[in-house]
């Protein structure tokens, strides 16, 4: 199942997320559950409303179902969700 080794190629919808850094300073600290993913953005359902966060220039802290925290550089996620399965990276953000 989903682990820190395959999180870049696995499903992000349904995971809890915290935006650690973002190109737009107003987006840092956004917290919630991922409800949708497009090539360039993640849609996060937070406490009050939906937030569409660009992947590029953002750092996300994901909580995997087994409780492990993973920090991911959103720039490497800029790819359509169904194409991400074939992603092959040497240096992945931890």
């Amino acid at each position: 199942m989903i682990s820190p080794q395959n999180v870049l190629r696995h499903e992000l919808i349904g995971l809890d997320v915290l935006v650690v850094r973002a190109g737009n300073p107003g987006h840092t600290g956004v917290k919630g559950r991922i409800v949708d993913e497009t090539r360039n953005t993640l849609v996060i359902s937070g406490e009050s409303r939906l937030k569409r966060i660009p992947k590029k220039f953002s750092v996300f802290r994901l909580t995997l179902p087994d409780g492990v925290l993973v920090e991911i550089d959103g720039t490497v996620l800029v790819m359509a969700p169904e194409k991400r399965i074939n992603l092959h990276l040497k240096n992945r953000g931890k």
Partner: protein, 110 residues
């Protein structure tokens, strides 16, 4: 020469897991926002088509074969049994799908 099937040996296994996760999330999202469930179905179908794997029967039966809306029995789906067929009506597009029952499976898990 045989064509290379997938760029990574684990791609199809991950694809199967992702499809299972997506349908699980679709079920959770449905009471909150059915549009998110429909998006999950859309993504699951895209993954299946790209990786050339079948969506398992238990998942294939919970979305409309015509409009690909996520279906929940009694809410937006009508299920009838008639003359050896399960007839599923999608209350979103009002079209029907017939699933034959009691036939030996000669073509995979269809």
């Amino acid at each position: 020469m045989a064509m290379k099937k997938s760029s990574h040996p684990n791609s199809r296994r991950i694809a199967r897991e992702r499809i299972a996760v997506l349908f699980q999330q679709a079920r959770l999202f449905f009471p909150v926002n059915p549009a998110w469930s429909n998006r999950c179905v859309e993504l699951a179908r895209k993954i299946a088509m790209r990786q050339r794997i079948r969506i398992e029967r238990q998942h294939r039966r919970c979305f409309c074969q015509h409009c690909y809306a996520f279906l929940v029995p009694g809410v937006n789906m009508r299920v009838r049994i008639q003359r050896g067929k399960v007839i599923v009506t999608c209350l979103h597009c009002h079209r029907q799908t017939r699933f034959p029952i009691g036939r030996t499976h000669v073509r995979g898990n269809g």
